[in-house]
């Protein structure tokens, strides 16, 4: 049979050098080993992408639309000390893994060739770094080019027999560098006969073996640190090289181990499946850095993780696997405040030997804890305690902090000696980070941004590296940036691509005069309605406006008009993407970080008075008893008659001499809103409180002058009621139209255990009862929680009750069952956010869905995919929370600044009691602060803590009993908190 043989079918290809195959073996999760064979087509038309080369221009690939990507690498690349003729850099995998921050620096590292081999390896080693690298290649200014060396015939190499994959990849990198060098030389020769400067293509690697081999083959190669040393701002850049590489060399020497080894992934997975181990997020108590808790799905209450050893290198926020300890090792949660700073002041960043994981003082503190736990009966009952056995996912981010002065060896600014220092993060739950730096002297007294690189078993503290300095401690710029970074708020100015999406007319944009204009299509003309807006004073981004008028049948027509942002922000353009990233506008005391560019937020979308604007209107017919007869949704054009502040509106309503239609409309609204509110409360809506204060600043310098608690007027709740009503109506409509993909907001009922402590405290101290079986019960019993002598007591209880609640969240309708949609706090079956599209992305999405629900325009594909929406929800939930936190932190900073140098006596209330201190809340400034026993008298007074009755009996000279809910007078001064470098209010008992 000479005419057929399968063997022969491959024969012609054996000699064919442009086809190769990649064979590798991989093991699956279930333990099976699979062999994978892939084809590789080797080609010669992959361009070098250097602007020096003409030959490659001809072979540049064209895409379907016949476009060719322009060449990336500059024809005059920057030079350095070692390569005066300029260089193209070819970093190997480890260079990216250790120095990604470095490559992202704007001022250095241009013209970089990323090899496919390297890209693939980076992806295997670290997905986040891979994404950062891919982002870099798309940054035009950085000139990063991905060269697919494995597909180019000249640079492809096959793995030799017995060669390890690492050696093979190193060889591939060298091969590519060599080819590039020859190629560039030839290209320049072809360009002109004259001697020109020929840039070198330089391999960057830290692998000694690789460097040696490169030298032998005379391939330009250099260590990353050596290369950086040759640059101008070398010192700053050198600090950014991850500490990991130095450690690798040192590792061999050190033998002492502080922490138990983490379990292997497969062992943890088996344990979790079998139910002997549990997975959850590691949370550290803000009061006690040694006490962590992990909430696992199996149990209602969180598992405790006590001490550093049990925490086993987990950092707050990591996803960990824990193992429950035997019962005899269970402990009670701490009643004591423990701050890292006070215990480990003297740890040395440089010396690691001779340390134990728990320092002597830490150990003492723990012993006392145990004693206490054993000595008590009910309250201090030992709780299930666990230890961390492994980490599933690190959630390390960049941390803002300051350099611990004590850890700096030489504070001289001129010293360029490299030393190991501690960075103390602002977030108290994060341990100190060891950082190697050459600029310790300069960094003292500055806000510093750093990241954690690794936490080895033999190191007590995590290792990290310096990223950049934000500026002087306590300076407004640095502190604001610090809190924005800490809460991951994107505050950079909008990029050009975003601004390009704005209407070309800019501020001159107007609602088209002719109603035939396409902009008018499907819009109702509501310009004749007497619409007005009511907002906080000085508000420029006006989202909402209202109107009300009597109908002939005795009912009222009420309209809520919301800025039509979705008209300007089309799905999936750059502006929409930026907005979905930002998720929300962040309000700081002196600054607003917008979600949308100013032009839209404060002008074109903003429902400013006296001008015509596009709006999205909800119109109801309402009976005089505030029952809804019908709801109608439409895109519209309105003209607001007036923009009131809450106060102005209140004055106008109260003043009977105003009898114009607009004012009467507002009176109708007010009347209806009160009825709506009552209905809501009857249904079980909660009236919760959070300490809200407003910082008054001097207009020019925005230096804080005074702090005031916010006043609430009737008009506040007027607006609020109708916004709630609009949100509920829209939620119902969207859900009806898109039962799978409607974007909604829910507020889960808090688990009973959340209220346990508060309800017990109220029972013991005040003989009051807090029922928590339904929101109605909570609302009613909260109303009962009053103290005749102390009007503020009720608010205090409400504040504390608020903290027992779950937080509300956005979700996609298809992911939950209908009963789970419920908004507990508002006692509404369904709810969404619709009324603030200028400052919240969720509202914008709701607008788009509503527009599709009323057949105004088709729904974009991104809003039809449940998985995409889930991603959006997840992001905006985080952003929303972060924005709140950043806002609070900003107020905290300004309150601190406002009270700087002051000395005031104020009333406060005891909110929480520990065995060695207590927390006092001062309503006047909305601040809550810790008073420790050692703050009361010079030698820390002895005290007895009666946990059952929430009494702290202080002995010695002070002789005083501190009880929960007690009203105390405190002296307010300010101090710079040593551990975080923040200026904070300090309270002392008078």
């Amino acid at each position: 049979m000479d005419h057929f043989s399968l063997k022969r079918s491959n024969a012609p290809d054996r000699g064919n050098s442009n086809l190769s195959s990649k064979v590798y073996v991989r093991s699956t999760k279930s333990g099976k080993v699979q062999k994978i064979v892939r084809e590789l087509y080797l080609r010669q038309d992959i361009p070098c992408s250097s602007n020096l080369c003409r030959a490659c221009l001809d072979i540049a690939p064209k895409d379907y639309t016949n476009k060719t990507a322009s060449f990336v690498l500059s024809d005059t690349p920057a030079g350095s000390k070692n390569f005066p003729n300029g260089q193209y850099l070819v970093p190997d995998t480890n260079a990216f893994l250790t120095g990604m921050d470095l490559f992202e620096v704007e001022t250095a590292f241009h013209d970089v060739i990323v090899l496919q081999t390297v890209l693939e390896e980076v992806k295997n080693r670290s997905l986040p770094l891979y994404h950062r690298l891919v982002a870099l290649t798309k940054n035009e200014g950085k000139r990063f080019y991905v060269f697919f060396n494995e597909f180019r015939q000249e640079t492809y190499i096959s793995r030799g027999t017995g060669e390890t994959i690492n050696d093979r990849n190193d060889r591939a990198v060298r091969q590519a560098v060599q080819w590039y060098n020859t190629h560039i030389k030839e290209a320049i020769k072809a360009r002109s006969k004259k001697q020109m400067r020929i840039p070198s293509v330089v391999m960057i690697t830290d692998d000694r073996d690789n460097l040696r081999k490169a030298k032998a083959e005379s391939i330009p190669a250099i260590k990353l640190s050596d290369f950086v040393s040759g640059l101008e701002n070398a010192d700053e850049l050198l600090d950014m090289i991850s500490a990991a590489q130095d450690q690798r060399e040192v590792r061999s020497k050190q033998t002492e181990v502080f922490y138990p080894e983490h379990y292997s992934i497969s062992k943890m997975m088996t344990g979790v499946k079998a139910g002997t181990m549990h997975q959850g997020i590691f949370n550290v108590s803000p009061y006690n850095y040694l006490e962590g808790s992990v909430h696992v799905p199996t149990f209602d209450k969180s598992l405790l993780v006590l001490g550093r050893e049990n925490g086993n290198r987990a950092v707050s926020g990591d996803v960990v696997v824990v193992e429950v300890l035997p019962t005899d090792q269970w402990k009670a949660p701490s009643t004591k405040i423990i701050e890292e700073e006070t215990l480990n002041k003297n740890d040395n960043a440089e010396i690691e030997d001779g340390e134990t994981i728990t320092s002597e003082r830490e150990r003492k503190a723990l012993q006392e804890e145990v004693k206490r736990a054993h000595g008590q009966s009910s309250e201090g009952k030992p709780q299930p305690t666990a230890r961390v056995v492994g980490i599933v996912k690190r959630n390390w981010r960049q941390y803002v902090g300051h350099i611990d002065q004590g850890s700096v060896r030489s504070t001289s600014k001129s010293s360029r000696q490299q030393q190991m220092v501690f960075l103390v993060p602002m977030d108290k739950r994060v341990p100190k980070i060891r950082i190697r730096t050459r600029q310790a002297g300069e960094l003292l007294g500055q806000r510093v941004l750093a990241t954690i690189d690794s936490w080895e078993r033999n190191s007590r503290y995590p290792m990290g590296h310096f990223v950049r300095s934000l500026g002087e401690l306590e300076s407004k710029g640095a502190e604001t940036e610090a809190l924005l970074l800490e809460w991951d708020v994107q505050y950079k100015p909008f990029p050009k691509t975003v601004l390009d999406c704005l209407p070309a007319e800019g501020h001159d944009w107007k609602v088209p005069a002719s109603t035939d204009d396409p902009g008018w299509k499907g819009r109702r003309d509501l310009r004749d309605l007497l619409v007005c807006s009511i907002d906080p004073p000085g508000c420029v981004d006006i989202d909402d406006a209202l109107h009300a008028r009597q109908l002939p049948n005795g009912n009222f027509e009420v309209g809520v008009h919301i800025a039509d942002v979705s008209h300007f922000v089309k799905p999936n353009n750059a502006m929409d993407k930026e907005a979905s990233q930002r998720g929300t506008t962040v309000y700081l005391v002196d600054k607003r970080i917008d979600m949308l560019p100013m032009l839209l937020g404060t002008d074109l979308c903003s429902l400013k008075p006296y001008v015509e604007r596009y709006a999205f209107s909800v119109l109801w017919e309402v009976t005089p008893d505030a029952d809804i007869v019908s709801a109608h949704f439409t895109k519209s054009v309105i003209r607001s008659r007036e923009a009131f502040s809450y106060e102005q509106a209140q004055i106008r309503i109260d003043d009977d001499s105003h009898q114009d239609e607009l004012t009467n409309g507002m009176r109708t609204l007010l009347m209806l809103s009160k009825k709506l509110k009552q209905k809501r409360y009857d249904a079980g809506a909660l009236n919760l409180a959070s300490p809200e204060v407003k910082v008054q600043t001097e207009s020019e310098t925005s230096d804080p002058v005074d702090v005031q608690t916010k006043k609430l007027l009737d008009t506040n709740s007027l607006v609020e009621e109708f916004m709630l009503l609009a949100n509920i109506s829209v939620a119902a409509k969207n859900y009806e139209a898109f039962p799978q993909t409607a974007l909604l907001r829910r507020h889960a009922a808090p688990p009973k255990t959340n209220f346990e402590e508060l309800s017990n405290q109220l029972k013991v101290k005040k003989g009051l009862e807090l029922r928590s079986d339904s929101s109605k019960a909570v609302a009613d019993s909260l109303d009962q929680c009053t103290d005749a002598n102390e009007p503020f007591f009720n608010t205090l209880v409400r504040i504390m009750a608020t903290r027992c609640m779950m937080s509300a969240e956005y979700f996609c309708a298809g992911t939950q069952a209908y009963p789970e949609f419920r908004h507990y706090g508002l006692a509404s079956e369904i709810y969404t956010h619709f009324t603030s599209p200028i400052r919240r992305y969720a509202d914008l999405e709701a607008h788009r869905q509503l527009a599709a629900a009323i057949d105004y325009e088709p729904l974009d594909a991104s809003l039809q995919s449940k998985s995409k929406l889930e991603g959006v929800c997840k992001n905006i939930n985080v952003r929303h929370r972060n924005a709140q936190m950043a806002g609070r932190a900003s107020i905290e900073y300004y309150v601190g600044q406002a009270l700087k140098g002051k000395d005031i006596n104020e009333d406060g209330f005891v909110m929480k009691i520990f065995s060695n201190g207590f927390v006092v809340f001062v309503p006047r400034f909305g601040i809550e602060s810790l008073i420790r026993l050692r703050d009361l008298a010079a030698p820390e007074p002895e005290a007895e803590f009666d946990a059952e009755n929430y009494v702290l009996k202080i002995k010695g000279d002070v002789q005083r009993n501190i009880e929960l809910f007690e009203k105390v007078t405190v002296r307010i001064t300010d101090e710079v908190e040593e551990s975080t470098g923040k200026r904070k209010v300090k309270l002392t008992l008078v």
């Binding site: 399968l6 012609p12 590798y24 892939r38 992959i46 379907y64 496919q116 992806k123 295997n124 994959i165």
Partner: protein, 290 residues
């Protein structure tokens, strides 16, 4: 020789050959046994999202390139018609039996005045990533049905009343574009069997490349391998020879309407090139008899 016996024979024969093929690879030490602590690798190769970086696909092809196509005709002397076709690592063996007298007179559902086209597709246990015997599942049934209807209308079946033409396809190795490979192999085998048909029926696949989060434009990709098929929306298109007449079109993934046009255009273009290749194979074989 009975049909059943032939199949068994082939399988044994092919298995041994496949074994030889994979032998050399096993000489390399498997990657995961390198024993190097710092390279504890979890294979996570690049995926289709890297296409936009340099307009290169996962195996180094451009968007409009077919894989290496290798085809042979008249591979089994005992069959009425046979062919062997490779599209990259997808390997298909096809034999044609017939036109022969139908198994039972008055076949169910078939017209009496024309031939019935029966298709059997068998997956070799070693053809996929994991060794397993594939029972005829819904997917295979659907492929059989597609082939049977396509050829029923293509072949001049009225010339053979009361008879059956049986196409037997053996999938020896799977790496994407299965249906397309089956169609191409069948066309060759039917030509070998000398059954009259109006034109070549050729097929190939086309996909739409992944879009990155920051750009919405995507290129249509031609002739997918297995990895691409898993990640991208794709269609299989079969056309009649040189014409643009689409005779088979199957798309089982969700794809944006506006991308469909370019995918189809590229797919049809691919079919034309495929026809030239198959035509070349047939003519080469024909030279022996001239």
């Amino acid at each position: 020789m009975t049909t059943a016996g032939k199949i068994v024979n082939n399988e044994i024969h092919l298995q041994s050959i496949h074994h030889q093929q994979t032998q050399p690879h096993q000489l390399h030490p498997p990657e995961h046994s390198d024993g190097e602590p710092e390279t504890k690798k979890q294979e996570m190769p690049l995926d289709t999202s890297t296409y936009s970086l340099a307009l290169l696909r996962l195996d180094g092809r451009r968007w409009n390139e077919l894989r290496r196509i290798h085809a042979q005709i008249n591979t089994q002397a005992a069959a009425d018609g046979s062919s062997y076709l490779e599209m990259g690592n997808t390997k298909v063996l096809c034999t044609v039996t017939g036109p022969a007298e139908g198994r039972q007179a008055g076949q169910r559902g078939a017209k009496d005045n024309e031939a019935k086209v029966e298709v059997e597709i068998g997956f070799a246990g070693f053809s996929g990533l994991e060794r397993r015997k594939r029972k005829s599942d819904k997917r295979t049934l659907e492929m059989q049905h597609t082939l049977s209807t396509a050829y029923s209308s293509l072949l001049l079946t009225h010339l053979y009343p009361h008879s059956t033409i049986t196409l037997t396809l053996h999938i020896l190795s799977q790496d994407g574009s299965m249906l397309a490979a089956c169609i191409n192999a069948s066309t060759l085998a039917l030509i070998d069997a000398g059954i009259p048909m109006s034109d070549y029926l050729v097929a190939c696949t086309a996909a739409s490349s992944a879009t990155t989060s920051d750009s919405d434009n995507s290129d249509p990709l031609l002739d997918l391998n297995n990895l691409e098929e898993q990640e991208l929306p794709f269609l299989t298109v079969g056309t009649l020879g040189r014409s643009d007449k689409v005779s088979v079109l199957i798309c089982e993934s969700r794809v944006r309407m506006e991308r469909m046009e370019s995918m189809l255009a590229v797919g049809i273009d691919g079919c034309k090139r495929m026809r030239e290749i198959l035509d070349g194979v047939v003519k080469e074989y024909g030279k022996r008899f001239s």
